[in-house]
C-alpha cells in the first residue's frame, strides 16, 4: 500500500479504499431501494393483477382503493387518527425533551438516574411496554384509548429519542453566545427569543420530525394499548393477516412520496433560516 503523497496533493489523491467503500455504498443503496422500487412499480398494478410481476394493465386502481373505506380496514380514518396522534406525540415530545435537554446543560443530582431511566425505556422490547401499560389499565379498570394509553406507550419511545437528540443539539451549543447576549444587556426573555431558540431551532425541528415519524410508524407498543380505534400501522397489519393486495404497495408508494415532500419542505425551511442568518450576520 503506497503512502499517499500528503504534502503535494492531499485533496485529489483518492486511496483505493475510497473506491471500495464507494462500491459498497452503491450496493447498499441498491439493496435499500431494490425492493422499494418493486413495490413502487407494483402499486400501479391493474385491478385484476396480483402482488407479483407481471403487471396486468397498469392502472391507478389501488391508489383509489387506499382512499376507499373497505370491509377489512378503513385506511382513511386510520390515517387521520395516526396523523393526529403523531402530531400530539410530536408536540409533547418537543416540549418535554427540550426542557429536559436544557436541564442537562449543568450537572444536577439524579442526572444519571433519569438518563438511565430514559435509556431503559428506549431499549425495552416495544411490545412489553404496551403489555405493561395494558395490564395497568386493566388493573385500574380503565378503557385503553388513542389519546390515553396509546399516547403514553408511544411517549416511552419518542421521549428518550428526543432526549438523546437534544444532547447532540446542546453539545454543539456554545454557552458563551448566551453570555455575550447577557453582557450586551439582553433580558432573559430577549436572550431566549433572539439567541437560544433560533440556534436550537433546527435541532428542535429534528426532534419534532423524528417523534412524528416514530409515532406514525409505531406498531408493537400501540397494539396492546390502542383500544377500539386502530392507527394506520395496526390497520395495515390487520390487512396483511387477512389478504395481501397491491393496495398495500400503493400505500407504501404514497408514504414515500409524502416523506419526500416533508423532507424537501423541512430542508427548504432550514436552508432559508440559515441563509437569513448569514444575511443578518453580514449586516
Amino acid at each position: 500500500m503506497a503512502r499517499v503523497p500528503v504534502a503535494e496533493n492531499p485533496i485529489d489523491a483518492r486511496p483505493w479504499t475510497f473506491y471500495a467503500l464507494g462500491f459498497l455504498f452503491t450496493l447498499y443503496l441498491l439493496f435499500l431501494y431494490g425492493p422499494m422500487l418493486v413495490i413502487y412499480a407494483l402499486s400501479f398494478q391493474g385491478a385484476n393483477g396480483g402482488v407479483t410481476f407481471p403487471i396486468v394493465e397498469p392502472s391507478l386502481e389501488w391508489f383509489r382503493d387506499v382512499w376507499r373505506p373497505g370491509q377489512m380496514a378503513n385506511i382513511p380514518a386510520a390515517f387521520w387518527r395516526s396523523v393526529t396522534l403523531a402530531g400530539v406525540v410530536s408536540l409533547v415530545t418537543v416540549v418535554i425533551s427540550v426542557a429536559a435537554g436544557l436541564a442537562y446543560r449543568r450537572p444536577f443530582p439524579g442526572a444519571a438516574i433519569v438518563f438511565y431511566l430514559a435509556v431503559s425505556s428506549l431499549v425495552m422490547p416495544s411490545l412489553l411496554v404496551g403489555f405493561g401499560i395494558g395490564l395497568g389499565f386493566q388493573f385500574f379498570g380503565l378503557q385503553p384509548d388513542l389519546f390515553t394509553s396509546a399516547l403514553g406507550a408511544q411517549l416511552t419511545w419518542t421521549l428518550p429519542f428526543g432526549l438523546l437528540t437534544m444532547f447532540a443539539v446542546i453539545n454543539r451549543f456554545n454557552r458563551s453566545w448566551e453570555e455575550a447576549a447577557t453582557d450586551l444587556g439582553a433580558s432573559p426573555l430577549q436572550r431566549l427569543r433572539y439567541v437560544t431558540l433560533p440556534i436550537l431551532l433546527p435541532g428542535i425541528l429534528g426532534v419534532a420530525l423524528s417523534a412524528f415519524t416514530l409515532s406514525y410508524d409505531e406498531y408493537a407498543r400501540t397494539t396492546l394499548t390502542i383500544g377500539a380505534r386502530n392507527t394506520l400501522p395496526l390497520e395495515i397489519y390487520a390487512l396483511i393477516s387477512s389478504q395481501t393486495t397491491p393496495m398495500l404497495f400503493a400505500l407504501g408508494t404514497l408514504t414515500t412520496a409524502v416523506s419526500f415532500l416533508l423532507i424537501a419542505v423541512a430542508l427548504f425551511v432550514v436552508l432559508r433560516m440559515q441563509r437569513r442568518r448569514e444575511w443578518t450576520s453580514r449586516i
Binding site: 425492493p35 418493486v38 413495490i39 407479483t52 410481476f53 403489555f131 395490564l135 403514553g152 400501522p233
Partner: protein
C-alpha cells in the same frame, strides 16, 4: 407550544440572574423542574408497568382470570420447555448475525460518508438517501421483500433470465435468509447514524498526526478511528440488538410461520389471556436485553461521551 417550551428556560434565565444571592439550590431546582415531566412520564408509563408485570409473573392463573400468588411455575416452564428454549436460541442467533452484518455495513458506510465524501451537500443528500426508506412503514418495507425474493419474484426471474439457474431458488423467501435480509434492510440505518455522529467528531489533525508519524492506513483505523468511534458503535449496537430482540412481526412474516421470535411467542400467550407466563417470558427477555445493554455500556460510558 413555544410558550410552553420556553418556560423552563425562562426559569433558568431568572435563576441565573439571581445567582449572586443563592445560586446553588435554585439552579439545581431549575434542572429538576426541567426534567420533572420527563421523569414523571417515564416512571408512570414505563417503570411502574414493568414492575406490574414483574409482580404478575408470579401470579396463578386459569382460564377465567389471574390470582395473586407467589409461584415460580411460569419461570420453571420457560427453562424446562424445549420449544421455548429453541425460540430464545433462534432470537439470539438472529441478533448476533444481524448485529455483525449491520455493524460491518454501518461502520463502512458511515466512514465513507464522513471521511471520503468531501462535499457537504452531497453528504447530506447521501444521508437522506439512506434515511428516506426509513419513513415507510416497517411492515410495508418487510412485505416489500415478498415480490422481490419469492419463487416467481424479481430476483429469481432475473437470475433465471441470465441463465445462472434453471430452477427458482426457493431458499430466498420464508427462510432464515429472508429474515436476516429483512432485519438488515430495516435496521442498518440505526448503525449508520450513531457511528457517523461519532466519526464526524474526530479531529482530522489526529489522523494526519498519525499519518505523519508513519502509521499505515490499517494502524490509523485500529488505533485512532475505531477507538474514537466506540460511542457510536456501542449506541448503534444497542439500537440494533434491542430491535431484533424485541422483534414482533419480521420473523413471523419472513419465516413463513416456520419460526417464532420471543416476543411473537409471548404475544400468543397474551392473546390467550395467559398473563403470568407471558409476564415471566417478558421478565426473562428484559433481563437478557438488560445484560446485553449493560455489557455495551460498560465498554463505553455513553452518557459521558454524549455530553462531551
Amino acid at each position: 407550544m413555544d410558550a410552553l417550551a420556553n418556560a423552563p428556560d425562562i426559569l433558568s434565565a431568572t435563576a441565573e440572574n439571581t445567582r449572586h444571592r443563592e445560586w446553588r439550590l435554585p439552579r439545581r431546582a431549575v434542572s429538576w423542574l426541567q426534567v420533572l415531566p420527563l421523569t414523571a412520564i417515564l416512571v408512570v408509563l414505563f417503570a411502574l408497568p414493568t414492575l406490574l408485570f414483574l409482580v404478575v409473573s408470579f401470579f396463578d392463573y386459569d382460564r377465567t382470570g389471574i390470582y395473586p400468588a407467589f409461584l415460580l411455575d411460569s419461570y420453571r416452564e420457560i427453562f424446562t420447555s424445549a420449544s421455548t428454549l429453541r425460540v430464545y436460541g433462534s432470537t439470539l442467533k438472529f441478533a448476533a448475525i444481524v448485529w455483525a452484518i449491520t455493524l460491518f455495513l454501518g461502520f463502512n458506510i458511515a466512514y465513507f460518508l464522513i471521511f471520503h465524501v468531501r462535499n457537504p451537500k452531497i453528504r447530506i443528500i447521501f444521508f437522506l438517501l439512506c434515511a428516506i426508506p426509513f419513513f415507510t412503514s416497517a411492515i410495508i418495507r418487510t412485505m416489500a421483500w415478498i415480490p422481490f425474493l419469492g419463487r416467481s419474484g424479481v430476483f429469481n426471474q432475473a437470475v433465471m433470465g441470465l441463465g445462472f439457474t434453471s430452477q427458482p431458488l426457493s431458499f430466498l423467501l420464508f427462510s432464515d435468509f429472508s429474515v436476516v435480509i429483512a432485519y438488515v434492510h430495516l435496521y442498518t440505518l440505526l448503525m449508520i447514524g450513531p457511528i457517523a455522529n461519532s466519526l464526524s467528531k474526530i479531529d482530522r489533525s489526529l489522523v494526519e498526526a498519525a499519518r505523519d508519524a508513519g502509521a499505515s492506513r490499517w494502524q490509523i483505523m485500529a488505533h485512532v478511528i475505531i477507538p474514537l468511534s466506540k460511542t457510536g458503535i456501542a449506541l448503534g449496537s444497542i439500537l440494533v440488538i434491542t430491535q431484533v430482540m424485541g422483534d414482533y412481526f419480521v420473523v413471523r412474516q419472513m419465516s413463513g410461520g416456520q419460526s417464532a421470535s420471543i416476543v411473537s411467542a409471548l404475544s400468543v400467550e397474551i392473546q390467550a389471556m395467559q398473563y403470568p407466563p407471558a409476564a415471566a417470558n417478558a421478565i426473562v427477555l428484559v433481563v437478557i436485553v438488560a445484560l446485553m445493554v449493560g455489557c455495551l455500556l460498560r465498554i463505553v460510558d455513553v452518557r459521558k461521551e454524549l455530553m462531551k
